[in-house]
């Protein structure tokens, strides 16, 4: 892909504003736990737009894309293995005798 232009930036910006609006409006609906998933999902899309277009992540050499993927994966490792503890805390019932 060739490097982004003024136009690409502008459209990305408008897209970001749109997503921001959608995310805020959706948050007014009561969707239970699913709402959080949508909020974080939309935020992730916005983050990808910024990282991909404004920070040239989509246009970069492979090395930098690997670096980005590495950082994200490591964050997810930390998150998932920590939450693994909290999700399963109550699984072994507190035996009372």
């Amino acid at each position: 892909m060739s490097a982004p232009t003024w136009k690409t930036y502008l459209f990305t910006y408008l897209g970001l504003l749109g997503l921001l609006l959608v995310n805020t409006l959706i948050a007014f609906l009561n969707l239970g736990g699913f709402g959080t998933v949508i909020e974080i999902g939309l935020a992730t899309i916005m983050a990808c737009l910024v990282a991909g277009v404004l920070m040239h992540g989509f246009y970069q050499m492979r090395l930098i894309q690997i670096i980005i993927a590495g950082g994200v994966i490591w964050f997810l490792i930390m998150m998932s293995l920590t939450m693994n503890d909290y999700f399963t805390r109550g699984w072994l019932p507190f035996h009372e005798g």
Partner: protein
């Protein structure tokens, strides 16, 4: 004409510029390496002094030398200084700084100013920590467990945390520099699979530091905020969870254990081929096992928390990954051993250290298997068994490797040879002293002697006395190299560019190397790493 050539040859990184300022403002990676060597040596002996006091105190079951409070401060400061101001920066800061650019055939690291800055940040962190020490010390243990550290300790927790926090940035910057250097600064023709395994291990090590140190930084910030502002972050009375602190701390600190030993492995992977005159056996396996350790090392932190109140299913996951990470370590040991098979083995000091490293690391690693086993860990967790285990890895492993590496590259660094006989003797003293110090601690731990006890039931005394006796021998073993290496700096015989007939790029330069490492940027034409065969003539080997 001849004079001009001689003058040109004599110019090296040590004598090109003179004066203290030329050192303090130098962006030369070799000089920065020497600055680091100086600083970590000071910290090592400071931390060692605390250890000696602790061992003396433990001669008797009762408090006879220091009070319980002082003892707690001693082991805390010993831990903080040894971990953050010696072990983690030791090999990367000194040998890594000196050798990585040379081994990849570069003139310097990618960001030389950042490199110097990281030394200053390191010293600043060290100063703050020493300030905490002078003001009265810290007594939380190097692990800063909450809620003791946030609500109960009356010592200088925040100052120590700030010191470690600052030093963390130095680690990050050094690691960042190495990663970028290895990626971007390699000499023409030097592809990944021609790199020395030293580079692979240091690369893996730097990746770990980049990814885990920030988490420590932010965890320490939370500790400081909680302590200063008296708000609940980990305080259970305010809805917090002290176990979360342990998660975040060990997410940093378990990989940090690997960042202490990976550089040691890097050094050993260089010494063994050179002193066996044989290429490293299973090069790719060793190289990839470093990366595997770096990755898997992030999945195992919860094995520090099997009895801490984490969920049993979480414990199960972490135990499984702990066994997975043992595999690449085992691969390394077997490959080093196999490298010696049918080699031409010299008994020079670096090789003695390397053989010692393999033996001690094997014991350290094997006892790690006991600790990773869920049912067994319940008994030996938080006992001297754990202490013995990680000292076998960090002192028996990393410090042995560091000493081996310093001896191996000393001719390159100083241009002089160290006294071989004395060096062999002190290697032997270190090995014996080390085992006498720490082997009894395995037995102590299995008997049930808990960690961090200033006084203990009398039945443990015999083993503690043995351990203290070993520690004094070990102390001698550490002071000796300091003395004769300093002596040889001025009085040793000239080493010549390649005294070991080693094939690495760093040996192609003069000893000590010129400021820009190589007169001409080397172009790597050999197809393989450790190519003794192709360099037979050059190295005068038959």
């Amino acid at each position: 004409m001849i004079e001009a050539v001689a003058e040109k040859l004599e110019k090296n990184y040590l004598n090109e510029k003179q004066g203290l300022l030329s050192w303090l403002l130098s962006t030369d990676h070799k000089r920065i390496g020497i600055l680091y060597t100086f600083s970590i040596t000071c910290f090592f002996f400071l931390g060692g002094f605390f250890a000696l006091l602790m061992r003396l105190e433990l001669l008797s079951p009762r408090n006879w030398l220091v009070s319980a409070g002082t003892y707690n401060k001693l082991f805390t400061m010993h831990g903080i200084i040894m971990v953050w101001f010696f072990l983690i920066p030791s090999i990367p800061g000194t040998l890594g700084n000196f050798l990585i650019p040379m081994m990849v055939g570069a003139k310097d690291v990618a960001f030389p100013k950042l490199n110097l800055l990281s030394w200053y940040i390191f010293m600043l962190g060290g100063t703050v920590t020493v300030y905490a020490l002078i003001r009265g010390g810290v007594d939380t243990g190097w692990t800063f467990y909450t809620p003791f550290s946030t609500s109960y300790s009356t010592t200088y927790v925040v100052a120590a945390a700030v010191g470690v926090f600052i030093a963390g940035f130095s680690t990050i910057l050094t690691a960042l520099n190495f990663v970028v250097t290895i990626h971007r600064m390699r000499a023409p023709g030097l592809t990944w699979f021609k790199l020395p395994v030293f580079i692979w291990s240091m690369y893996a090590n730097s990746l770990v530091l980049i990814l885990n140190t920030p988490v420590l930084a932010i965890t320490l910030v939370m500790i400081a905020v909680e302590r200063i502002a008296k708000v609940g972050i980990f305080d259970p009375a305010l809805g917090g969870d002290p176990v979360l602190f342990q998660h975040m701390f060990w997410f940093y600190s378990h990989p940090a254990v690997y960042t202490m030993v990976l550089p040691g492995m890097a050094v050993i992977s260089e010494i063994i081929p050179v002193f066996s005159r044989k290429p490293l056996f299973g090069y790719k396996a060793v190289a990839f096992s470093s990366v595997a350790i770096a990755v898997l090392g992030f999945l195992v932190w919860g094995h520090h928390m099997f009895v801490a109140g984490e969920s049993v299913y979480s414990a199960l996951t972490f135990s499984f990954f702990s066994y997975c990470v043992a595999v690449p370590s085992a691969i390394k040991v077997f490959n080093w051993t196999a490298t010696m098979h049918k080699g031409s083995i010299s008994w020079d000091t670096p090789m003695l250290y390397a053989i010692g490293f393999i033996g001690l690391f094997t014991i350290g690693g094997m006892t790690g298997l006991f600790l990773a086993a869920l049912g067994l860990d319940v008994h030996v967790h938080d006992t001297y068994f754990v202490i013995a285990h990680f000292h076998y890895i960090m002192v028996g492993g990393t410090v042995m490797a560091f000493l081996g590496g310093v001896h191996y590259w000393w001719p390159k660094i100083s241009g002089k040879m160290y006294p071989e006989g004395l060096a062999r003797l002190s290697a032997l003293i270190v090995f014996l002293g080390f085992n006498l110090t720490f082997f009894p601690q395995f037995v102590l731990g299995f008997l049930g002697m808990p960690r961090r006890y200033a006084a203990y039931p009398e039945e443990f005394q015999m083993l503690h006395v043995l351990s203290t006796a070993g520690a004094t021998i070990l102390g001698v073993g550490y002071v000796l190299p300091l003395c004769y290496l300093l002596w040889s700096w001025n009085h040793g015989r000239d080493a010549g560019p390649n005294p070991w007939r080693a094939p690495g790029l760093e040996w192609k330069s003069t000893s000590p190397p010129p400021t820009h490492n190589f007169e001409v940027t080397p172009v790597v034409t050999s197809k393989l790493p450790y190519d003794f065969e192709a360099m037979k003539e050059e190295l005068e080997l038959v």
